[in-house]
């Protein structure tokens, strides 16, 4: 799921921040705005920008070879426009990965139905952040570290390939610490159903090809793990509690 280019629809405060944050990570970023003033601002800030309208005219985008390598952010000012845009995009490009911003829960639901791959609810995210900050400060700072900064402790996802030696193994039985200092948080076979390893169901889940493992660990360990997990010759010793 690695994207090569990003399209951002809209250039309000949120879009600006997103653009600013991802600037370093992607080669190609293009911003589409509904209004001239926003367009000019985007250009001033150094981005490729152009005007668009909400008609179904996606000529430019149709020209893109591999739409699955494009990440689209729908961050228009008004929720109705955003929803309309999402439906339109999803209808024309069903494989496009769309991240849409919602200002409230109702819009969030609509956007999901409209076909957004991920919906970001502003109010919910902010309120969670605030309550975590106040009530679970340690947790909050650790997670912030892991998720957002360039700390050595990171989150990663690993896809199990066909030759992986883990296939058929029950996760909880493996003593990871013998080999790598990583924590397996969850396993999922598609983007919607997570099995957390510490639940009863997750505990006994047998790894299958195509599963995605979510792990936490230091960068080096993660790299090592990534390399070797799809290797078919490793002997995973058993947990000795």
């Amino acid at each position: 799921m690695i994207f090569e280019s990003v399209i951002i629809f809209g250039y309000n405060d949120y879009a600006q921040e997103i653009a600013r944050q991802i600037d370093a990570s992607y080669e190609y970023i293009h911003i589409y705005t509904l209004e001239k003033e926003e367009n000019e601002r985007a250009i001033r800030d150094g981005f490729n920008a152009s005007l668009f309208d909400l008609s179904d005219n996606w000529d430019e985008l149709v020209q893109i070879e591999d739409i699955t390598k494009v990440l689209a952010y729908c961050v228009l000012q008004h929720d109705e426009h955003n929803t309309f845009l999402t439906i339109s995009l999803h209808a024309t490009f069903p494989e496009l990965f769309i991240v849409a911003l919602a200002n409230d829960l109702e819009s969030a639901n609509k956007l999901r139905i409209a076909g957004a791959s991920k919906v970001l609810s502003v109010v919910q995210t902010t309120s969670e952040m605030i309550s975590d900050y106040l009530e679970k400060p340690t947790l909050n700072s650790v997670l912030q570290n892991i998720l957002y900064t360039d700390s050595k402790l990171k989150l990663a996802q690993i896809i199990i390939g066909p030759d992986s030696s883990l296939i058929g193994v029950e996760l909880h039985t493996i003593d990871w610490k013998k080999h790598y200092n990583v924590l397996i948080l969850s396993v999922t076979n598609d983007r919607l159903n997570f099995e957390y390893v510490f639940t009863a169901k997750g505990h006994h889940h047998k790894v299958a090809e195509g599963d995605i493992l979510v792990i936490i660990g230091y960068t080096k360990e993660i790299e090592k793990f990534k390399e070797e997990v799809n290797h078919s010759e490793i002997d995973w010793g058993h947990r000795s509690w």
Binding site: M1, F3, V6, D13, Y14, E17, I18, R20, Q21, I22, S25, L71, Y73, F97, V99, L101, K118, L120, V123, Q124, T125, T126, S127, E128, M129, I130, S131, D132, Y133, L134, K136, T138, L139, V142, L143, N145, I146, L147, Y148, L153, L155, A156, Q157, N181, L183, L185, T188, R191, F194, Y196, F198, T199, A200, I212, V214, I215, I216, G217, Y218, W241
Partner: protein
């Protein structure tokens, strides 16, 4: 200045400065008048007890001979208590020493001799203003039975019942409410009196000299009139003449009007006061609330934050100057007030100790200006309570910080970070996100290692996390060290915070277990 003058003035200053005196006076003031002392309710209960026992003894006396001891109790001892209370209240009303000082300063300014006559006059009018107030008169009359030689004065014991108005909040409220409609009540009284009088005269004229009629005096006519107009109708007096019956019909019809008028006045005065009463009750309950979050602004964000914090077991108080949102907050079950959080008076009305009772103030209004304003208002009365605010426009960050906000949450930046992650490794990010939002009953939890726990669970292994399907992500040690994925045999230290994740129910089980065994 003459020597007596200087003596008086020096005495006044001495009293003002005498800390012991002032603190005693304050104690009694909070006990009796302001009712803020924790002993107030004991005092009130004691007084109510005296009043009731006094009345019961009186009732008992009517038919039975009561013992001398009880009589003495009723007459002397109870009266004595009430006398002390009466004197205390006079003392508490205003401050004579302040009066003297004010007069002295005024006279100094105008370069003239101290006007003692003025002082005496002012003192008298001050204390007299209290003495002639209705509750003071009742108190005075309640002491009267002291002079039990006059048998009639024994009845003054009943005045003690009126003292109940002071000590019971609900009667006090009831009286206050009716007081607001005293003009209407007065009008009603005049109206009713006129009708009663006119109809009494009419029936008297019609019936007094008639054979077989029971109404034969003006007093009986008035009595009958009143009984009829109030729709009571005892039936002890009834008109026998045709004309008398016509008068009766007229009174009955106007009686309906009178009753409805009286009822509607009472109902409307209560309805109008109801919101105030409820508000006062809320403010009172606020005094006892400890460790709560004060949320300013009940927009969507305020609503969500309140919900989350409440689910984590906190008390919440909401302030919003928009009436509909304050109502909504109340509907959602929070203590909420329709006050403007940017006004100093709002916080004064709430009558809370920001330092002791408030965990943190969250200013979540829709504009940076409002949040800055709120912060400034709060900081003008309190320098230490933590204030958290959201930021809408990056350019206003410094202003918020200067206004005294400790923690600023810049939503846009936050969203930017999250959005970036969604595009980065969305599955991984989603996993953490789902955990944070506590869907599926799986949560993150912090476990603080106290000396207690350290004694019985010195290593991580002993918590048996595996059994409870709990994952320990790491241990936060001190401010900087985060020990990721610790080995089970690691030795724990006091102050460590374990970061755990797992099913909420199982984490609670584990916590119970650690507490249970200890």
């Amino acid at each position: 200045m003459q020597s007596t003058d200087s003596l008086i003035v020096r005495f006044a200053y001495a009293i003002q400065g005498f800390k012991r005196y002032q603190s005693i006076k304050n104690f009694f003031y909070s006990l009796l008048e302001a009712q803020t002392s924790p002993y107030s309710k004991y005092f009130n209960s004691f007084m109510i007890f005296l009043i009731f026992s006094s009345v019961f003894i009186l009732i008992d006396e009517v038919k039975n001979d009561i013992s001398l001891e009880l009589q003495i109790f009723n007459d002397y001892i109870i009266s004595f208590f009430f006398l002390i209370e009466y004197l205390l209240r006079i003392w508490l009303y205003g401050s004579v020493s302040e009066l003297i000082i004010k007069q002295y300063e005024k006279d100094q300014l105008l370069s003239r001799d101290l006007r003692i006559k003025s002082i005496i006059k002012k003192t008298f009018s001050l204390k007299f203003a209290y003495i002639r107030s209705p509750s003071a008169i009742i108190d005075f009359l309640a002491i009267m039975p002291f002079f039990h030689e006059l048998r009639l004065l024994r009845l003054f014991i009943l005045f003690r019942v009126f003292k109940l108005f002071r000590y019971t909040r609900s009667i006090h409220t009831f009286v206050k409410v009716l007081h607001t409609k005293k003009f209407e009540f007065f009008t009603l009284l005049v109206f009713t009196s006129i009708i009663v009088f006119v109809s009494a005269v009419m029936i008297y004229v019609m019936e007094a000299n008639v054979e077989g009629s029971m109404i034969s005096s003006l007093f009986e006519a008035i009595y009958w009139s009143l009984v009829t107009i109030s729709t009571v109708g005892f039936g002890d007096y009834t008109p026998v003449t045709r004309e008398g019956q016509v008068v009766a019909m007229i009174i009955i019809i106007s009686g309906i009007g009178v009753i409805s008028f009286a009822t509607s006045i009472i109902v409307s005065s209560f309805t109008e006061q109801l919101d105030d009463i409820k508000e006062n009750r809320d403010i009172d309950s606020l005094r006892k609330l400890k460790n709560f979050y004060l949320i300013l602004g009940y927009d969507h964000l305020g609503e969500h934050v309140a919900g989350k914090l409440k689910r984590l077991g906190n008390n919440i108080v909401v302030l919003d100057e928009r009436a509909n949102l304050a109502e909504l907050a109340k509907k959602h079950g929070y203590t909420a007030f329709n006050y403007n959080p940017g006004l100093l008076s709002s916080y004064k009305r709430l009558n809370i100790d920001l330092n002791a009772q408030v965990k943190a103030i969250l200013s979540l209004e829709g504009s940076d200006i409002s949040n800055v304003y709120n912060a400034l208002t709060i900081r003008s009365i309190n320098k230490t309570t933590p204030i958290l605010s959201i930021l809408h426009n990056k350019s206003n960050q410094k202003k918020l910080s200067l206004a005294g906000v400790n923690d600023i949450i810049y939503t846009q930046e936050l969203i930017g970070m999250v959005a970036k992650e969604f595009g980065g490794e969305p599955v991984a990010f989603e996993a953490i996100n789902a955990l944070r939002s506590e869907t599926n009953g799986i949560v993150f939890e912090e476990l603080f290692i106290t000396d207690y726990l350290l004694e019985h669970y010195p290593t991580l292994k002993m918590f048996e996390l595996f059994k409870y399907h709990i994952l320990c992500i790491g241990i936060q040690r001190g401010k900087k060290d985060f020990l990721f994925n610790p080995i089970p045999t690691i030795e724990l230290e006091h102050g460590d915070i374990l970061l755990l994740t797992g099913m909420k129910s199982l984490i609670i089980e584990m916590q119970k277990h650690t507490r249970g065994e200890v």
